[in-house]
């Protein structure tokens, strides 16, 4: 987690609430990703592409293995080969669009945040020449866009993300089993959800994805109010998915609520680690680049 604390100052342009004012999802994705990349100008993570792009003069400090000796033979000067990235990795973005994701207490809902995150990851992956696919689900799979690496496919993915609307209840197992059945190629699977289901169901669903050889990154998206539960007055709380009601005096249960929620999150972290899945808790007030970092780290581990 410490690596995220060194996020460069450009992250202020990635404020989620500010992004809600941008109408085009592609523009949002580009804003996020370009801003993110501009903060990585000295990043060691670039350069894993294989297609030749151009020659650059050798400068002290460059890896001498990258010197093109044939050019040296012809010109008697050192040139470094530069490549463009191109991989065979496919990225599947799985977005939970159940009713509970429609909650947002400070200007952005969890679903919107998930959409921005999915779009940004998709755009970022596309820049890496990865094949990108998109799946949304609630009780079942709602949308499915298979992963492709063609230039026009990005628009399809972004359009599908944009067209995601809040659905009904969540059925994690059923939905992710369906998803895993459709993923014919191994790749990177990014699950974006609030993980509001029975913990056992959630983990079973995720394991289905992981057992089929996919690398799984789980982003649990929660609203800051959900985490803090800082309501003041007593109120009638209504479950957004089941519509059941409960009279709650926040002062009475705040402390206990936080404890239960924290236990749940810790449990997810522990289980995911056990199954070699990445788990990342994000609240919707945090900039998107934190999720991008998480993705990048995982992506780097793969190659």
């Amino acid at each position: 987690m410490n690596q995220f604390q060194s996020v460069p100052p450009t992250t202020r342009f990635l404020d989620p609430v500010a992004l809600t004012r941008i109408a085009s999802l592609e523009l949002i994705a580009r804003t996020v990703v370009e801003g993110f990349i501009s903060g990585l100008h000295r990043s060691p993570h670039l350069g894993f592409s294989v297609n030749f792009a151009e020659y650059n003069p050798y400068r002290p400090g460059d890896d001498i293995r990258r010197i093109d000796w044939k050019v040296y033979a012809r010109t008697d000067r050192f040139f470094i080969k530069e490549y463009e990235g191109e991989t065979n990795t496919s990225i599947h973005l799985i977005l939970d669009c159940s009713r509970s994701m429609f909650y947002g207490a400070h200007g952005i809902t969890k679903l919107e945040y998930g959409q921005f995150l999915a779009a940004s990851l998709g755009y970022f992956a596309f820049k890496q020449r990865d094949a990108v696919g998109f799946i949304s689900y609630d009780e079942d799979v709602v949308q499915y866009v298979p992963a492709r690496g063609s230039v026009g496919h990005l628009n399809t993915v972004l359009h599908a993300i944009e067209e995601t609307h809040p659905g009904e209840k969540t059925d994690f197992v059923k939905s992710l089993v369906r998803v895993s059945e459709r993923l014919r190629r191994r790749g990177l699977v990014v699950v974006i959800s609030d993980l509001y289901d029975e913990p056992l169901n959630v983990m079973n669903g995720l394991r289905h994805l992981a057992f089929r050889g996919n690398d799984v990154i789980v982003f649990q998206i929660l609203d800051p109010v959900e985490l803090r539960f800082d309501f003041r007055d007593a109120a009638q709380f209504v479950d957004m998915e089941t519509r059941t009601e409960m009279h709650v005096i926040p002062d009475f249960i705040r402390q206990e609520y936080r404890r239960v929620l924290q236990n749940q999150i810790s449990e997810y972290e522990k289980e995911c680690r056990k199954d070699r899945m990445d788990f990342c808790l994000i609240d919707t007030s945090q900039p998107l680049d934190r999720a991008l970092f998480s993705y990048l780290v995982r992506r780097e581990q793969l190659y």
Partner: protein, 696 residues
């Protein structure tokens, strides 16, 4: 168990406010859509129960602490059981305090007040005692505590309104004294009044009745009223007109909220209406009005300003005693053969015979043709004359006349010492006429009149800065005089010689001026202070005193002194010490003057007559202006302020000492301690909860 302040129990209702707020908020709890209630359901019931219990405990502690504080403020006390034998003998002392001030004359207030007093007696049981006090700014006990109800009723029936103003403090003090003298039993002061706001004086604000005395009130006043009266009266003699015209300025004040239009104001002089005016006066405002009195003959005249107001008629008239002085005759005795271009009295006549400005009329006479008469004589630089003449002058002064002896250049020491020196303690030193200090007025040898006693009546007007200076006048010649016992020297020259000597001779006064009244021996006539100085001399000689045009009800007057002044003014000589004086009030009732006293209190509006065998006078008396303002106070608040917090506590058969009372009420301190403990516990519990929340 009883309570000192049982009405504090109302405060306990406030303890229900937190609970009520809680219920209201619960009923109007807002709905909040939340992603999932799964975590809330997983929270253990035990935790919720604990939290609820904790909050209930907090609420309980707060409510209990609050109730204990309320309970403590109710001041509970243990009642001492009354001795059974004494119960049957208990009586109630009713002290009826009836307001008979001028404002009670408004409409039917007085009749209602008397009926209320009668009713109180009617309700009393035969064992009770009754005392009746009437009050205004003076309290009079009509009856002491008595069982004789019929006598008390007769006294009430015969009570009359006064013209005095209201003052509650002293009335309640007097009633409290009667109540305390009543001994054991219940004591009730019944205050019957119109509760005029002006009646509560600032100095009485801290007054509280003693414990155990109950105060009940009957309010016959009302917030709606209208009353017109004359106030801010100012009488001035016009300086500009030759006929001594007198102006009376006043304002018609309208107390109350109703505008009054076309109100008639009449001026009555000597009982006859001489002028009328009509004014409009807005509610709560006043309207100025001015009358000019026609030329009055010399003497004092009764003058009344009367406003036509049917509501409270007792303050409609404003009484004044206006004096038209006329000119006081002054005889200037001087030699016919002065020899100079002008007589020695030339400057005096010019300075004092100014028609509009001077109240004196000077006429010249020679010693040979002198007939001693009038009130004032100026013996202007002429020889003392014969012994017979001196005898006449002496008698004139003894009878109250005023004599000024001017020692100019013609004054001879031998002559003066022989004539005036025979009956005045003044002598001229040396021989012959006064010597001139400077030959031919070289202006280098003279004396100044610098040592002046400004506390003396003659020089008082010159005491303030820039009010006239004598030091600029140079005296080239003056008589060196020495004074004996019985003479005072209001002014001296700078060489120490007396310049002016004042002597009281029996009822009259003599002044000796050591230089001339013209410019032959000094240049005083050329100075600005000359005329005012001689006018002051004459005022002193005639013992002139400004007379007040009216007195207020409650003030005192000195009839003999007033008659003496009148006799002097009327040139009727003086009043004999043993001459009997009769004072009649405005209703022509004779007022007895206490032996050995010359003071009579005036307590009725109108004209008081003062009569003696030789001279009569009268005095105008008006009600205090503040009494006409009928603004109604809040009777409940006023009586609550006067009652002791323990006044109604021990109503029955006991009047415990302060120590006993304190002992019996000690419970309140314990209650407060308990409340404090509850509050400390509540604080600790809520702080614990707050800390937990902060940590969370």
């Amino acid at each position: 168990m009883s309570f000192v302040n049982p009405w504090f129990l109302i405060g306990a209702l406030a303890a229900g406010i937190p609970i009520l707020l809680h219920l209201i908020k619960r009923a109007h709890a807002r709905r909040i859509e939340f992603p999932t209630l799964a975590f809330l359901r997983r929270i253990s019931k035990k935790t919720i129960r604990y939290q609820k219990l904790r909050h209930l405990l907090l609420l309980l502690l707060r409510v209990l602490a609050f109730l204990l504080i309320v309970f403590a403020f109710m001041r509970p006390y243990r009642e001492k059981a009354a001795p059974v034998a004494a119960v049957g003998k208990l009586t109630t002392a009713h002290i009826i305090v009836l307001d008979n001030s001028l404002s009670m004359g408004y409409q039917d207030r007085w009749a209602r007040a008397k009926k209320a007093a009668t009713d109180i007696i009617g309700r009393s049981s035969p064992d009770d005692k009754v005392a009746v006090l009437q009050f205004s700014d003076r309290t009079v006990a009509s009856t002491q505590l008595t069982n004789d109800f019929s006598d008390a009723l007769d006294r009430i029936e015969s009570m009359e309104l006064s013209d005095r103003s209201t003052r509650y403090g002293q009335a309640l003090r007097a009633a409290e004294k009667v109540a305390l003298d009543a001994g054991t039993g219940k004591r009730i002061i019944h205050l019957i009044s119109d509760f005029q706001k002006n009646g509560w004086m600032a100095e009485d604000r801290d007054f509280r009745l003693s414990a155990g005395i109950e105060l009940q009130h009957v309010d016959v006043g009302s917030d709606d009223f209208s009353n017109l009266t004359i106030r801010d009266v100012h009488v001035s003699e016009s300086d500009q007109s030759a006929d001594n015209e007198i102006r009376i300025k006043a304002s018609v004040a309208n107390f109350g909220n109703i505008d009054r239009k076309n109100i008639q104001v009449a001026l009555l002089v000597d009982g006859r209406s001489v002028a009328e005016k009509r004014v409009d006066v807005a509610g709560g405002g006043s309207q100025g009005i001015e009358f000019q009195l026609p030329g009055l003959i010399s003497g004092t005249h009764p003058v009344i300003l009367e406003v036509d107001d049917p509501y409270l008629t007792r303050d409609n008239k404003f009484y004044m005693a206006i004096e038209a002085r006329g000119k006081t005759p002054v005889l200037v005795v001087e030699s016919n053969d002065a020899g100079g271009p002008r007589s020695s009295g030339f400057f005096l006549l010019k300075a004092l015979n100014v028609d509009a400005l001077s109240p004196y009329k000077l006429t010249e006479a020679s010693p040979q043709s002198l007939t001693v008469s009038g009130r004032l004589i100026i013996w202007n630089d002429v020889p003392g004359g014969t012994a017979a003449m001196q005898k006449k002058l002496q008698d004139f002064v003894k009878g109250g006349g005023g004599l000024a002896v001017v020692l100019g250049g013609a004054a001879q020491s031998a002559d003066f010492n022989r004539s005036f020196g025979s009956w005045l303690p003044v002598r001229i030193d040396g021989s012959g006429a006064p010597e001139s200090l400077s030959k031919g007025r070289s202006f280098d040898s003279y004396v100044l009149m610098t040592d002046i006693r400004t506390d003396h009546p003659i020089f008082q007007p010159f005491s303030r800065p820039h009010s006239g200076s004598f030091s600029s006048a140079r005296f080239f010649r003056h008589a060196r005089i020495s004074v004996g016992a019985g003479a005072e020297v209001p002014a001296r020259f700078d060489n120490g010689d007396p310049a002016l000597v004042a002597i009281h001779v029996d009822k009259g006064r003599v002044l000796v001026f050591a230089s001339s009244a013209d410019d032959s021996s000094n240049d005083l006539p050329l100075k600005a202070v000359y005329a005012p100085f001689w006018q002051q001399v004459l005022r002193y000689l005639e013992n002139f005193q400004e007379r007040r045009h009216w007195l207020d009800v409650g003030e005192t007057m000195a009839p003999k002194k007033l008659l003496l002044g009148a006799a002097l003014r009327q040139a009727k000589g003086s009043l004999d010490a043993d001459e009997s004086v009769v004072v009649l009030d405005p209703q022509k009732q004779r007022i007895s003057i206490a032996p050995g006293s010359d003071d009579v209190a005036v307590d009725k509006t109108g004209f008081y007559e003062i009569r003696s065998m030789s001279v009569n006078s009268f005095v105008a008396v008006n009600a205090a202006a503040r009494e006409s303002d009928l603004t109604h106070g809040n009777a409940e608040e006023m009586t609550a302020g006067w009652m002791s917090s323990e006044s109604s506590v021990f109503p029955q058969n006991e009047h415990p000492t302060a120590e006993e009372q304190d002992h019996r009420q000690r419970l309140w301190a314990l209650l407060l301690i308990a409340a404090a403990l509850f509050l400390i516990s509540e604080l600790a519990l809520s702080n614990h909860g707050l800390r937990s929340r902060k940590e969370a």
